[in-house]
């Protein structure tokens, strides 16, 4: 199972969902879907924008956990 650790990185960078939404260019609703692990897929462009905005690596955002 792939887990999105967006809230962890947002807390580390002291960034709110609104700020991240503006920087990345995704709606608040879509970011919420991502943050709550309800997303079914993520585009590379979105991942790229999030990593740039949070100044982190992909593995900081995406984590594989055995079910």
């Amino acid at each position: 199972m792939i887990v999105i650790n967006l809230d962890v990185m947002m807390a580390k960078r002291k960034m709110s969902l609104n700020e991240l939404s503006e920087k990345v260019g995704i709606t608040l609703a879509n970011l919420s879907i991502l943050k709550n692990n309800k997303a079914k897929a993520i585009r590379f462009s979105t991942l790229d924008a999030i990593c740039q905005a949070l100044d982190c690596k992909v593995e900081d955002i995406l984590e594989y956990r055995k079910e």
Binding site: N30, L31, L34, K38, A39, A41, I42, R43, T46
Partner: protein, 151 residues
């Protein structure tokens, strides 16, 4: 081929389904007369089986009315752009079952009027077409859900 704009096409379908429902309701009041006239034209006399024929005819009208109502609800959802949802799939499934039930009713009617057997085939074929359409919409709904949750 004449291509009607989308919005007009949907409204045309809605108007036709409402008109059809009105005809169905009207036929309920005139059913005994219609059966009497048909049997007179065929040269048959009114017998005990007329009651059975009337019951089957009312059952056919009832199932058609249910199918028409489901069609109307489906058209309203199409008008609101709520096509690829589980509710729409359920509505199409319901209409396909109505077609199959109509086929069964016409099959029974076929023992009184042979022509009804031909209508049975048409109804069952329509039911099969609607089931395939339901499968297509169901798959499209799953693909849309996948797309909607792709960020």
């Amino acid at each position: 081929m004449l291509k009607i704009p989308n919005k007009i096409s949907i409204w045309l379908s809605i108007i036709l389904s409402v008109l059809f429902f009105v005809v169905l309701v009207a036929s309920c009041f005139y059913m005994p007369l219609l059966i009497y006239v048909y049997m007179s034209l065929k040269g048959a006399t009114v017998t005990d089986s007329t009651t059975e024929i009337t019951i089957i005819a009312y059952a056919i009208v009832g199932v058609m009315a249910i199918a028409d109502i489901l069609l109307f609800i489906l058209l309203q959802r199409v008008r609101k752009s709520l096509v690829f949802t589980n509710i729409s799939v359920a509505l199409i499934r319901g209409i396909s079952w109505c077609a199959v039930i109509l086929g069964a009713l016409f099959f029974v009617l076929g023992f009184y009027f042979l022509i009804a057997f031909a209508i049975t085939f048409a109804c069952v074929f329509l039911g099969i077409c609607l089931r395939v359409t339901k499968n297509v919409i169901e798959e499209a709904t799953a693909i849309k859900a996948e797309n909607d949750f792709t960020i």
